[in-house]
């Protein structure tokens, strides 16, 4: 009887031992799976981070391209309008139209240089007081300084009572023959942007020959 009990105990021990080996193997396998999942998680998080950085880069690049496209469109439209100029009246009309619809201002003035009198004479204006700006002296004030130096002015100049927002020289054959000035912007237009500077420079470079006409 004792021998039978002993045999049964031995068999139970062997069975238990075998189960232990199986459990140990399963434990090892589960531990390996967990290790792999942990490494995979780290790998996926790193990949996600890389994709997020890539997305931000593309989003920024798209924004730059969209802004550049808008600049090009503004230049194309302004160029097309300037191509249709035939005389001074056309030039003034084109300038007013472009400033109003492309840049966003209904207050502008166009001057021509009088070399003999050393003054700027008003040629066309919209939304500003003609009497105030009828004559400006070369070298004085923002208008006069832009006409003298040929340097464009963007943004209100200090101590300038005329409220000029932007002022560009109008040139013909590398000579300054006039000045184009923008005063107030439309309420919904907060400030001039790069596209506006480009359009104003385009106007300055192309209105000159027509300003000199009678």
């Amino acid at each position: 009887m004792i021998e039978q009990q002993s045999s049964a105990a031995n068999a139970a021990m062997v069975s238990a031992y075998q189960e232990l080996v199986i459990c140990k193997a399963q434990l090892l396998s589960t531990k390996e799976t967990l290790d792999f999942s942990g490494k995979e998680r780290v790998r996926l998080e790193a990949e996600l981070d890389r994709l997020r950085r890539g997305y931000k880069y593309v989003e920024k690049h798209l924004g730059e391209l969209t802004a550049h496209l808008s600049e090009l469109e503004a230049m194309v439209v302004a160029s097309q309008q300037l191509l249709q100029m035939r005389n001074r009246a056309d030039a003034c009309k084109a300038a007013l139209d472009i400033v109003a619809n492309v840049i966003g201002s209904e207050e502008m003035a166009l001057f021509v240089v009088d070399e003999e009198q050393k003054v700027l004479n008003l040629v066309a204006a919209c939304g500003v007081d003609d009497k105030v700006l009828s004559v400006a002296k070369l070298g004085e004030g923002t208008l006069g300084k832009v006409a003298s130096t040929g340097m464009s002015c963007f943004g209100p100049a200090p101590h300038d009572a005329t409220g000029i927002t932007a002022c560009v020289p109008v040139q013909h054959d590398a000579k300054i023959v006039g000045v184009l000035a923008i005063f107030g912007l439309l309420p919904q237009k907060k400030r001039l942007v790069r596209a506006d500077h480009m359009v104003l420079s385009l106007l300055g470079a192309n209105l000159g020959s027509y300003l000199l006409q009678a």
């Binding site: 969209t66 496209l69 808008s70 469109e73 503004a74 194309v76 439209v77 302004a78 097309q80 309008q81 084109a94 139209d97 472009i98 109003a100 619809n101 492309v102 840049i103 966003g104 209904e106 439309l186 309420p187 919904q188 237009k189």
Partner: protein, 165 residues
């Protein structure tokens, strides 16, 4: 059986009267065929109205480059009403200050005609003040956008009215 789903087609025949005095006969003129696609298969059409060629060109360029909508134009309110009746656009972008008939008057006229009453009208204005906006809505416009037109805002606004849900 119609072999071209979404397409309506047919033909018409003219009979021309020939002869002198009391002697007349009918002469058949060669038939002409017409064919038009149903509206679901045609690109959406936008009518842009502005007396400024610069503004017209700008809006037209933005929509042509960025969308597939068909563009038609008019240069004053009266022409806008006529074009709307003829072209049946899906949306109208209307300037406010124009000769002959301004944008408010044109919008009001469009609302009186059953054929154009349902066309959405978006006012394109340099003045975004409250009173101008209210006047626009009082005359029947659906929305407004201010000049100078921002390309992305224009495309988003137009698409919101034209994209099929």
């Amino acid at each position: 059986m119609n072999r071209f789903p979404g397409v309506q087609w047919g033909f018409y025949v003219f009979l021309r009267s020939v002869g002198v005095g009391t002697s007349h006969a009918l002469e058949r003129v060669p038939p002409k065929f017409w064919c038009e696609e149903s509206s679901e298969h045609m690109a959406k059409k936008v009518l842009i109205v502005d007396d400024s060629s610069t503004a017209l060109m700008m809006s037209q360029m933005i929509l042509t480059k960025r969308t597939k909508y068909q563009i038609v134009t008019a240069t004053d309110g009266a022409e806008a009403v006529a074009k709307a009746l003829l072209e049946r656009p899906d949306l109208i972008l209307m300037d406010v200050v124009m000769p002959k008939m301004n944008g408010f008057e044109a919008c009001s006229e469009l609302r009186k005609n059953a054929n154009t009453a349902e066309i959405p009208v978006v006012l394109v204005t340099t003045r975004g003040e409250q009173e101008c906006v209210e006047q626009g809505f009082a005359n029947g416009c659906n929305d407004y956008i201010t000049k100078p037109v921002n390309a992305q805002e224009l495309v988003t606004l137009v698409s919101s009215y034209l994209e099929v849900e």
